[in-house]
Amino acid sequence: MSTKPVGVIGEITDVNLTMKVAEKLRDAGFRNWDIYTPYPVHGLDKAMGIKRSILTYISFAGLLGGISTALGLQFWTGAVDYKLNIGGKGFFDWQFSIPIDFELSILGTAIFTVVGLFHLCRIPTWYNKYQDDESFKKATDDVFVVTIDADDDRFSATETASLLTNLGVGNVHLVHATAN
């Protein structure tokens, strides 16, 4: 195959080795690399040096959006746009607004969280450059798969592969782009 490789891929079966490899690659200064796991591994994100997720801020924005929509809607429709006297109750009072304030806060948080999650994980997507590699497919089953992309500054087709092999990663091989 004459095409340039898109990256190097390797398999690990032991979770403790996965942690070690993650720390080594992080310390080696790689940037465009990842470890694919069948389930979330505690502490692996820190071992890889991943920064704290901004998702909590997105969710909080959803909460603020939800509660201000609820308050604004109830106040404007009831006390500004069309005042209706129903049983002498106030046109707007914070007490009766609470159930809807609460529900819309929850709804706003949930929607922002899920949309934010999709955005941060870059899904939905129809393509992944490793998708046709057999090793890569095992990552949703029982193998921890490590990849280092060819566009990483420190990538070298021979040296990166041997680095992984020396760390104890199995079945290390280069992946070439498929026609898509």
Partner: protein
């Protein structure tokens, strides 16, 4: 238990994690076994037994939909409702179905926050049940509006009359609570499914199934960079679902309590309704799981330990509702109000005494057997008790609605309510819809949360943490 497992257990305890008391996955399967076991349900041929069951539930659903069609085209006069009884089986069924859903959210959200690892085997099916139950509840409440094609009148939207909905009405709060509940439950369920759908995408052989799971899994790869965000998202969704589940049935109870009718106008209703909802929901989860576990052969994942824990929760919540039943009587007496006192005496000894005592025996007496460990681990017995509780909780809602309405303040307008065949058919139909959806779910969607099961298996998590320790997901 092997020596290695024992060491891991001690190590986990040293890290301040909850010690695993009893194995939650039996038979020491490998991760590949777990994938293969769950995927085999999806990949296996559709059996005649499955089709036969599906056609029965489908026929029930079709019959109910016919009765709904008849109701909608003719008007709710075809129901047994009368004056003074304006709410009957419609609202009973609505509250019943909404309550059923609550166990799913409790298992998926509250038990998650309390780090109850046993939830992993049952959360997926319980969450699915939540969504299907809320669909049934929405069917009931929409049909009871009489002109369901005008459902959008319930939403605040700018219109030619320049009028808005009445936000001071608890019925309006209900619209927001139930729709929020449905949306958030569906999102929570789907987010939980994404990694498992990706597992199926990579596992199944059939190219059609591969495409379908491929599209539904949205291109999930299992990247640690994604898991990092995913775990936070899951935690936030669990965190907001917890108050949500408590709020939804509280808001449902406001439909009654904000009214000034004797028997309804009480402050105990919100917690009493929430406890009852969880109680009835666990009973329904139990009924379904006993069958699912048997038919799909999931004994490895859904163990007696799971059932025992669920029975303990049923015992606890059953006593909460029992306490509420008794306290209601005390408060009615203590209130000094003749109307309150009379309505409760009438509830227990009046025209609907049969419904009241069915409720009391099913909900308060029958779960008492779960004090005994042998009963908590006896599957036929817990199946029967779960059916009793389902029946009892339905009668609880019926009792609350019918006894308060059938005798109002003016003896001249007292009445009695019996459902017509149409209401009974619609109720059967909601069971048909519920069971049909559950059967389809059990066949085509991973019934067990594969990724979550893997994450609690022995040896799944690193034993030596370099940078930190003890912050579980």
């Amino acid at each position: 238990m092997t020596v290695v497992q024992e060491q891991e257990r001690l190590q986990a305890m040293a890290h301040g994690e909850e010690p695993v008391r009893e194995d939650l996955v039996l038979g020491n399967p490998t991760m590949r076994d777990v994938t293969a076991r769950i995927a085999s349900i999806v990949e296996s041929k559709i059996t005649m037994k499955y089709l036969a069951t599906l056609s029965v539930t489908g026929a029930m659903a079709a019959w109910g939909l016919f009765a709904l069609y008849y109701t909608i085209t003719t008007g709710i006069g075809v129901w047994g409702l009368n004056n003074p009884i304006g709410w009957g089986w419609d609202i009973t069924n609505f509250v019943f179905w909404i309550g059923i859903g609550h166990a799913g959210t409790l298992i998926s959200a509250i038990l998650f926050l309390f780090r109850q690892k046993w939830r992993t085997a049952i959360n997926r099916s319980a969450e699915a049940m939540t969504i299907f139950a809320v669909i049934c509840a929405l069917t009931m409440v929409l049909s009871h509006t009489g002109r369901p094609w005008l459902f959008y009148w319930l939403l605040p939207y700018p219109n030619q009359m320049a009028m808005w909905v009445n936000f001071r009405s608890p019925l309006m709060w209900d619209v927001f609570a139930v729709n929020t509940y449905f949306t958030v439950s569906a999102l929570f369920w789907f987010v939980g499914l994404i990694p498992d759908l990706a597992t199926l995408r990579n596992y199944v052989k059939s190219s059609v199934a591969k495409k379908v799971y491929g599209v539904l899994s949205l291109g999930w790869t299992g990247s640690t960079r994604s898991w990092h965000h995913y775990e936070i998202a899951y935690m936030i969704l669990a965190g907001i679902s917890t108050p949500l589940v408590l709020s939804v049935h509280s808001v449902v109870s406001f439909d009654f309590t904000v009214g000034i009718l004797p028997g309804w106008h009480t402050t105990i209703f919100p917690p009493y309704f929430v406890a009852g909802a969880i109680f009835s929901g666990f009973a329904m989860v139990m009924t379904l799981l006993v069958i699912t576990r048997e038919i799909l052969d999931l004994k490895q994942f859904i163990t007696l330990k799971h059932f025992e824990n669920m029975n303990k929760i049923m015992l606890a919540t059953g006593m909460m509702v029992g306490y509420a039943y008794i306290l209601e009587f005390f408060i009615a007496w203590y209130s000094g109000s003749d109307w309150e006192r009379w309505i409760f005496i009438n509830r227990a000894f009046g025209d609907y005494a049969w419904a009241y005592w069915t409720m009391f025996i099913c909900n308060v007496v029958s779960p008492q057997v779960f004090w005994f460990k042998s009963a908590r681990r006896n599957i036929p017995l817990m199946f029967v008790i779960s059916i009793f509780i389902n029946i009892g909780m339905w009668f609880e809602r019926f009792t609350i609605i019918a006894t308060t309405l059938h005798h109002d303040f003016l003896p001249a307008s007292w009445g009695y309510y019996s459902p017509t065949w149409v209401e009974i058919s619609i109720f059967i139909g909601t069971f048909g819809i519920f069971l049909t959806l559950f059967l389809l779910f059990a066949k085509f969607v991973p019934v067990i949360a594969i990724a979550e099961i893997k994450s609690i298996m022995p040896g799944a998590q690193p034993t030596h943490h370099h940078d930190h320790h003890g912050d579980a997901h």
